[in-house]
């Protein structure tokens, strides 16, 4: 499900816990700082991390391509959205041009800057998310849920549904094949026709899922699901020394950034 790129960089070797902590800290600061300059720094940092874990460049482009148009729209629309005078700094209130005749629809510098911040935020979030998921095997996230004391059944639901994704994918293929073989067509542009076209896929899938889930419940009981509150964990995660050091380092960064923001850096 999640793509994992094996590697031996420091980030790969870190435990999932310090990585998630770092991820949270970065996310919080992305929202704290409004000045695009600071967000540019974050974005550069995220880009650096991405290069550091040695992901092929094409992979990164593939990731960013779908959100590119959205990012452009965000910057553009943001310039029109905020009226001049709504910013603390003088330069930010400058009108760059008007979008309509007779000085209507002002495009404001600060708005554009804010739009760039928004764009950089999304860009950075996408990248740091990828750094996290590309360097951490799925299994570690599951262990993390256990450590975070998610309700045990919920963890089980998530693990089992991951296991069932390929099975359901096969079902979907089979249902499509069966419906196409009896002449069903799936290529119209009318929305209402589309709803009608896809019912023959969705209904058998749901019905089959219900049948399977009854079987699955029986199999779970056959294997002692829920027999004892003291089930045995098959794997244990251990924090190494490097993980503790990483935690300390992240803590320091956090403190420094909080200090900076407190003193007014990074606002518009």
């Amino acid at each position: 499900m999640l793509e994992y790129f094996p590697g031996s960089t420091l980030i790969h070797r870190l435990d999932v816990r310090p990585k998630v902590v770092a991820f949270c800290i970065l996310t919080v600061f992305l929202f704290f700082f409004v000045d695009p300059f600071y967000n540019l720094l974050f974005a550069c940092f995220a880009t650096f991390l991405m290069r550091y874990i040695r992901i092929p460049t094409e992979r990164v482009f593939k990731l960013l391509k779908p959100i590119l148009p959205i990012m452009v729209i965000i910057v553009f629309m943001s310039g029109f959205t905020y009226p001049a005078g709504s910013f603390e700094n003088q330069w930010a209130n400058k009108v760059m041009f008007y979008g309509w005749l007779g000085q209507k629809l002002p495009f404001v510098m600060g708005g554009m800057m804010f739009g760039i911040t928004l764009m950089l935020r999304i860009y950075s979030m996408v990248l740091i998310t990828s750094v996290l998921t590309f360097t951490t095997p799925l299994d570690q996230f599951i262990q993390l849920m256990r450590k975070l004391r998610f309700p045990q059944p919920l963890t089980f639901v998530i693990v089992t549904s991951i296991r069932f994704i390929p099975t359901m994918q096969k079902k979907v293929d089979q249902v499509f094949a069966a419906q196409r073989a009896r002449g069903a067509k799936f290529s119209q542009n009318n929305i209402f026709a589309q709803i009608y076209n896809y019912l023959p896929v969705m209904v058998p899938l749901i019905v089959d899922s219900l049948r399977m889930s009854e079987q699955l419940a029986i199999s779970m009981l056959n294997r002692g699901y829920g027999a004892s509150a003291h089930w045995t964990a098959l794997k244990e995660m251990k924090m190494k020394r490097i993980d503790y050091w990483a935690m300390v380092a992240f803590g320091c960064c956090f403190a420094v950034l909080v200090y900076l923001r407190w003193n007014g850096y990074g606002s518009l």
Binding site: P204, L221, T232
Partner: protein, 593 residues
């Protein structure tokens, strides 16, 4: 506790929550430790329900009206929770897919013991043993997603064994496997019984294997036990086997036939082909010197069925479907077809056989372009189908899939059939008229207003055929229509297919059932590893041992008996069914005398 019976069922009557009639009716049963009991009976007889009462799933999980008493190794299933009973009795169900929880083989086998809080090093030990017992010793780190059907089924057994039960109950564990896979499961079950002293309770439609392996059989019908005893006695009695709707094993039909010809081979049916051959030879020696009917010496090979002439004749007409050097490689790089050449003629009745994963379904999905060839060409009536849409080909080439539930979605049987016609642009009245006609043809007219999901599996399969048939395709591809069906269901499906063939449809049938091959099909394709290994008349299908081995095929018991006899006494194999074989053997005895 050792002296207690493994299973004791007393006056058990059980009715499902919303059902009117009881699914289990006054069951009285006692199973000794270390024995191998087979539970047989037609669809809906109550086999699964009976197995589910044994570990307490009924009534603890599936509620309903429960009377009587079930004790497992002395523990009452009404007092001990399921999760504890499973340490005495493990239950393996039919579909391995819903029984696998782990992402890797090891994780899956460890699921049971970890639920029970077994210490980790003990889990390692138990899982190792369990995997070894089912022949998956070096599969620990393999991903469960990519196991074959047979391996999945074995893993399902291992997962239950790792919990450490002394009784193992299995519900039709082999129905989707090829003959070799079926044998593998039965061998595992046998070794669990003999080498590890486990008690085995197995629900099965596979009469031949039950006859060969089980110590005793319990036959259910409408929730009642109607027969119990040794399998060789059950199958010796033609009348009971027919009455209970069991599939007669090949050797049993022979045994009955000999008896009708006045040749007694004892009271009990032989359990294996070897035993049958040995008895025949012993009988022959006994009968030596006695006058045997020698009338009718004409060579049997000239029999009418063997129309060698027709084979040459057929090649002159243009094929309806012509496949040239077809290859297919899936996205994951697996080459499933490696150069297929095949001509299908109008009026053919082809059975495609071969091991799981041979490429049978992959091949047929090309005929209506559910799959696009990665190489080669396909001509339908002389015209390439490349670039055509599956939906348009559906009017010419119908494909019925194995699982009818993958296509049923309407709220009534009639609407379900009308759906395909509507897409093809028929008017409302035409849709209805045609749909009713097709429903009458397949024998579902009485159900036209019923909700499809409320029909039994066999009827749903029929409905699936009807939905395809409504479009009146010249070619009908039917993918494993008899899997998991009982004798009656299998017979009526084959009857329907035979009727369609008579009406002029060209039939292509994919199957693991060798009886269909010899008794119904007119032409056989044996596939193995993405190639057609053999394309022949049914009675030549089993001649080449190398091909059979390559395709994991086991000949029918009649054919096996012939080769057994051939090896033992120089008997010449004969084409035809059991009657012909018996006649030939009788004659052969005469010749030898």
């Amino acid at each position: 506790m050792q002296d207690q019976p493994a299973v004791k069922v007393e006056q058990l009557t059980y009715t499902y929550d919303k059902a009117q009639a009881p699914s289990l009716d006054q069951i009285q049963l006692e199973i000794r430790r270390g024995s191998f009991i087979a539970v047989m009976g037609e669809t809906g007889a109550g086999k699964t329900s009976l197995l589910m009462t044994l570990n307490g799933l009924i009534p603890q999980f599936l509620e309903g009206e429960f009377h009587g008493e079930v004790t497992i190794a002395g523990y009452s299933t009404q007092q001990v929770p399921v999760q504890n009973l499973i340490q005495e009795i493990g239950l393996v169900l039919q579909d391995p897919d819903t029984q696998i929880f782990g992402l890797t083989v090891w994780e899956d086998a460890a699921f049971g013991p970890s639920n029970l809080g077994v210490p980790l090093d003990e889990i390692h030990r138990r899982v190792d043993t369990a995997l070894e017992r089912v022949g998956l010793a070096h599969f620990h780190e393999r991903s469960t997603e990519f196991l074959s059907g047979g391996e999945k089924q074995r893993l399902a057994v291992a997962g239950v064994l790792a919990i450490g039960p002394s009784i193992l109950a299995l519900d039709e564990p082999t129905s989707e496997l090829d003959p070799e896979g079926k044998d593998a499961i039965f061998e595992i079950v046998d070794s669990l019984k003999h080498e590890h002293g486990m008690t085995i309770i197995l629900a099965e439609h596979e009469s031949e294997r039950v006859l060969a392996h089980a110590d005793a059989v319990v036959v259910l019908q409408e929730g009642k036990i109607v027969w119990r005893g040794e399998p060789q006695m059950l199958f010796a009695d033609e009348e009971s086997v027919r009455r209970f709707q069991l599939r007669p094993p090949g050797i049993a039909t022979l045994f009955w036939e000999f008896r009708k010809q006045g040749i007694g081979l004892g009271d009990a049916c032989p359990r294996t082909v070897q035993e049958m051959a040995a008895r025949l030879l012993a009988n022959e020696q006994k009968e030596q010197g006695r006058a045997v009917d020698r009338e009718g010496h004409e060579p049997f090979l000239a029999a009418a069925q063997f129309d060698a002439a027709a084979v040459g004749e057929r090649r002159d007409e243009a094929p309806i479907l012509s496949i040239n050097n077809l290859t297919h490689t899936y996205h994951n790089g697996h080459q499933a077809l490696k150069g297929i050449d095949l001509d299908v003629y109008a009026g053919d009745y082809i059975a495609i056989i071969g091991q799981n994963g041979a490429g049978k379904s992959t091949l047929c999905k090309h005929f209506n372009r559910l799959l696009t060839p990665t190489g080669g060409s396909i001509l339908f009536q002389g015209e390439s189908i490349a670039g055509k849409d599956t939906a348009d080909l559906a009017r010419h080439i119908g494909y019925v899939f194995q699982n009818p539930d993958h296509q049923i979605f309407s709220a009534s049987v009639l609407e379900e059939v009308m759906y395909g016609l509507r897409i093809q642009g028929f008017s409302e009245s035409e849709q209805k008229e045609k749909a009713l006609e097709v429903l009458a043809f397949v024998g579902l007219d009485a159900y036209s207003e019923r909700h499809p999901f409320s029909l039994g599996k066999g009827l749903r399969q029929r409905l699936a055929v009807a939905t395809i048939l409504a479009l009146e395709p010249q070619i009908l591809i039917i993918d494993e229509p008899t899997t998991g069906q009982d004798w009656r269901g299998t017979q009526s499906m084959l009857e329907l297919i035979g009727k369609l063939h008579e009406r002029g449809h060209t039939i292509i049938l994919i199957t693991h059932n060798m009886q269909i091959v010899t008794e119904h099909a007119k032409r056989v394709l044996i596939m193995g590893q993405g190639r057609i290994l053999k394309d022949c008349k049914p009675w030549h299908a089993f001649e080449d041992p190398a091909i059979l081995k390559a395709a994991n095929i086991k000949p029918t018991q009649l054919v096996q008996l012939e080769s057994e006899l051939a090896a033992m006494s120089g008997f010449v194999p004969q084409p035809g069914g059991e009657r012909a074989l018996v006649k030939a053997i009788v004659k052969g005895m005469g010749r030898d005398a």
